[in-house]
């Protein structure tokens, strides 16, 4: 029991509970002294903020910074010796590999949670009429499904980046290890707050939280805002750290155009998330203040303009989907040459296409607002900028096809997920232009077609590559490989089930099914399709369950692999698995191109035997 309480996570959560209660009490007391009556909403918000801070302080993420501020000596992060073992995964660790796995855990937990929400409301939708949920519960569940999974995706990306990037670029750790730990631990109280929105009244708005509904609805929206705000800061600080790491910590000889392509993808992603994330934080903060202090930003009743919220919100939330898919597309470009045994076709173009997507991504947010009453002269420019995104994305597809062309393809589980990702993302890409073109979007907007399109892009751009990445890099974490049998079962169940689900969604969307509604008219004739979608959804969930079982079994009993299992040229596979404490026992140097598979006598990295003067 004592051991249990010594875990940082447990301590942090206890501190968060204490802090929340104290914050609520404090605000109540201040209001009482001012002669104001008790009001739950401001007390909850204030308590939530205090609770998040006490979590971070209680778990010890800020201790070193406090010592620095007081001028006390603090060891360099590389000199901190952590006792190996399972316990350090549950407390503050400065090791990027531990933090990567921590992010991974949290990401998988939120993935399961967000997926479960979907199963619940999909069951409700299997039949017309309200069966077991009421409207508020249904609305809360769809909103939570969206936002919890967005949090999960951000954490999954952070997991991949944290674990792999320093190993890939030959660094000992991230540029700012303490900030790295801080970013991760911020995400924990943020997730707790986000999920708590369900228990303090829920909310009606869906994940987009549009005012004026979010200004007037139940109080759960405040916890939702607060949770997203904190998770957003976690993402901002994490990506800031990644940019600094990628730009400053590369091994000697690794110029920008000799980086593994995944590093390029992460760099592009991080540029978006360091900057644009602030705008969702700001817009949510403004709605919070509108509710708490009556500030009239968005509610027309007090002179505000709800369209402004949509501009600020989508300025993040559209680039956000590029935050989600760029790392996944990077994984595809990273793994394809390994399994095709051929150089990555058009390396520079692929690298710059990530940047191209990131930069164009800043110019397209208005395509979410074609029907919302946005200034009409903005429609066509936003349509063109949206369609422009197809150009850098197309470059990636050409590169993938050309990389596979005449390659000696091998098909272990990671490769299957890569190919699945390419196919599903192609579906997402092809269904995009009708939604981005004004004339067609006017009909498709807010239908299930958009739901189908979106899930295609998320699964093709993130979920499939994420699974590929986990199957691929799992040996680097554990020293064991994941079961191929279960992995293939996972894939062959997931792909058809998922395609059935999204084609079903797009079909009923075209037939006129609106998104975000708890009920539909059985006369519309898509009850059967809805049932198929629900069944497919459960099959997708079942395949993910197989994946979780595989993770659990393989981590304990999987086949032991120590060396370069996939015959990759990348630096992280030149060191033993699991990756040792300070990554590279001897410094490495880059002497060639990263993806020259199949070219005789070509080398990418070599070990610097004698630590040279530099």
């Amino acid at each position: 029991m004592k051991k249990f309480f010594s875990l940082g996570l447990v301590r942090g959560l206890i501190w968060q509970a204490i802090g929340t209660a104290a914050g609520m009490g404090l605000l109540g007391a201040i209001r009482a002294l001012m002669g104001l009556p008790w009001k739950t909403e401001p007390a909850m918000v204030f308590g939530g903020v205090v609770g998040a801070i006490t979590f971070l302080a209680g778990i010890g993420t800020m201790r070193d910074w406090w010592h620095m501020a007081l001028g006390k000596p603090v060891p360099e992060a590389e000199e901190v010796h952590e006792t190996p073992g399972g316990a350090r995964y549950f407390g503050v660790s400065l090791d990027h590999k531990v933090i990567g796995v921590q992010y991974g855990f949290l990401s998988m937990i939120t993935l399961a949670l967000g997926g479960t929400f979907a199963l619940i409301f999909r069951t409700e939708l299997a039949q017309a009429g309200l069966d077991f949920l009421n409207y508020l519960q249904f609305n809360t569940l769809i909103g939570m499904h969206g936002m919890v999974l967005i949090a999960s995706i951000l954490m999954g990306i952070a997991a991949m980046a944290n674990f792999i990037i320093p190993l890939m670029i030959g660094a000992k750790d991230m540029a700012f290890p303490r900030l790295n730990a801080f970013s991760f631990w911020m995400a924990v109280p943020g997730t707790v707050l986000l999920v708590s929105a369900m228990f303090v009244g829920g909310f009606e708005t869906g994940w987009t939280a549009y005012p004026p509904l979010s200004v007037r609805g139940p109080m759960g929206i405040q916890m939702f805002f607060l949770g997203v705000y904190i998770v957003g800061w976690s993402s901002i600080l994490g990506s800031l750290n990644l940019i600094a790491t990628i730009l400053m910590m590369r091994a000697p000889g690794m110029t920008l155009f000799r980086m593994p392509i995944f590093a390029w993808a992460m760099l592009a992603t991080s540029i978006i998330s360091t900057t644009a994330t602030q705008l969702i934080g700001l817009s949510f903060q403004m709605v919070m203040f509108e509710r708490l202090l009556g500030m009239g930003f968005f509610d027309p009743a007090s002179g505000g303009n709800p369209i402004l919220f949509q501009h600020l919100f989508w300025f993040y939330s559209h680039p956000a989907v590029y935050i989600f898919v760029l790392p996944g597309l990077g994984v595809i470009s990273e793994l394809l040459p390994v399994f095709a045994r051929k150089p990555l076709f058009g390396y520079r173009w692929v690298a710059l296409s990530s940047m191209g997507i990131a930069l164009t991504g800043f110019l397209v947010w208005g395509h979410h607002m074609f029907t919302s009453g946005m200034e009409e002269y903005l429609r066509v420019p936003f349509m063109y900028s949206t369609l422009l995104v197809a150009v850098p994305t197309g470059i990636k597809f050409f590169s993938w096809v050309a990389t596979m062309w005449q390659g000696r393809l091998r098909f272990p589980t990671p490769m299957l997920f890569v190919l699945g990702g390419v196919i599903v993302f192609l579906m997402g890409g092809l269904t995009g232009p009708p939604s981005g073109t004004v004339s067609t979007d006017l009909h498709l907007h807010d239908t299930y077609y958009i739901v189908g399109h979106f899930h295609n892009t998320m699964f093709g751009g993130y979920i499939f590559p994420l699974f590929a990445a986990i199957y691929y890099w799992f040996p680097k974490i554990t020293g064991r490989r994941m079961s191929e049998k279960l992995g293939k079962a996972h894939f062959w169940l997931l792909l058809p089930a998922f395609l059935l689900q999204t084609f079903g969604q797009m079909r009923i969307g075209l037939l006129g099914m609106r998104r975000r509604i708890a009920d539909y008219d059985p006369e519309m004739g898509f009850t059967f399709s809805n049932q198929l979608i629900t069944i497919a959804g459960f099959l997708v969930a079942f395949s993910v369950l197989i994946f979780f079982i595989n993770l659990w079994i393989s981590a304990r009993k999987g086949e032991v692999v120590e060396g370069n299992l996939w015959e990759s040229r990348s630096p992280e596979w030149q060191i033993p698995s699991p990756a040792p404490l300070h990554n590279f026992a001897e410094p490495i140097r880059v002497v060639g191109e990263p993806y020259d598979y199949g070219l005789p006598n070509s080398r990418y990295v070599e070990t610097v035997r004698q630590p040279a003067g530099d």
Partner: protein, 193 residues
């Protein structure tokens, strides 16, 4: 931080410093988007109108904040030349000017403004912009408090004063934001009805 830097080679130390600077500037870039979003909000909601504010007070607080950056720079240059006395003096002046700014905005302008935060878009925009900026000035003053304390105890030298550099850059950044906020709130447009 101080004791271990000596262990690193000069090249490693220089690289570390560049990394820190990059991190700080990335933070400014990120934070800049918050203020950019607020400027967008101001022009989207108020357009050519501007809130009715005390022009003279606005001019004074703006002048005070701009002048504070001069003393901030003096403080940083002083410590870079190992002149601790001048560092302490200039840091104290910067902090005092920062506090005068805060008192001017929160203590006076907020009380004198003819609207409260709940009074329409004018109130919302004005209190959000000045509030967000004042929050940054406040954190800047706190940051300066820490470097003042450590500076007086002799923790900084010409070679080792990254915290001073960071605080000074942060101060200038917050100052720069006001250079955009001041005209947006006080000068551009006409006072409506």
């Amino acid at each position: 931080m101080s004791t271990h830097t000596a262990v690193l080679t000069a090249k490693e130390a220089a690289r570390k410093m560049t990394t820190r600077r990059l991190g700080l500037w990335l933070f400014f870039l990120s934070d800049g988007f918050v203020f950019g979003g607020l400027l967008v909000t101001r022009f989207y909601l108020l357009g050519q109108a501007r809130p009715h504010l005390e022009q003279f007070l606005g001019l004074i607080v703006t002048a005070v904040l701009l002048v504070s950056s001069f003393f901030m720079n003096r403080a940083e240059v002083s410590i870079a030349h190992n002149d601790r006395k001048s560092f302490v003096r200039n840091t104290v002046i910067t902090m005092l000017l920062g506090i005068v700014f805060l008192v001017g905005v929160v203590g006076f302008e907020w009380q004198l403004a003819p609207f409260g935060p709940a009074d329409g878009t004018e109130g919302a925009v004005f209190y959000m912009m000045t509030g967000m900026h004042a929050f940054h000035v406040l954190t800047g003053v706190i940051f300066l408090g820490f470097i003042l304390r450590n500076g007086m105890r002799g923790h900084y030298s010409a070679e080792n004063h990254w915290a001073v550099e960071a605080a000074a850059n942060y101060w200038h950044f917050v100052d720069l934001v006001w250079i955009f906020f001041y005209p947006a709130l006080y000068l551009i447009g006409t006072v409506g009805g």
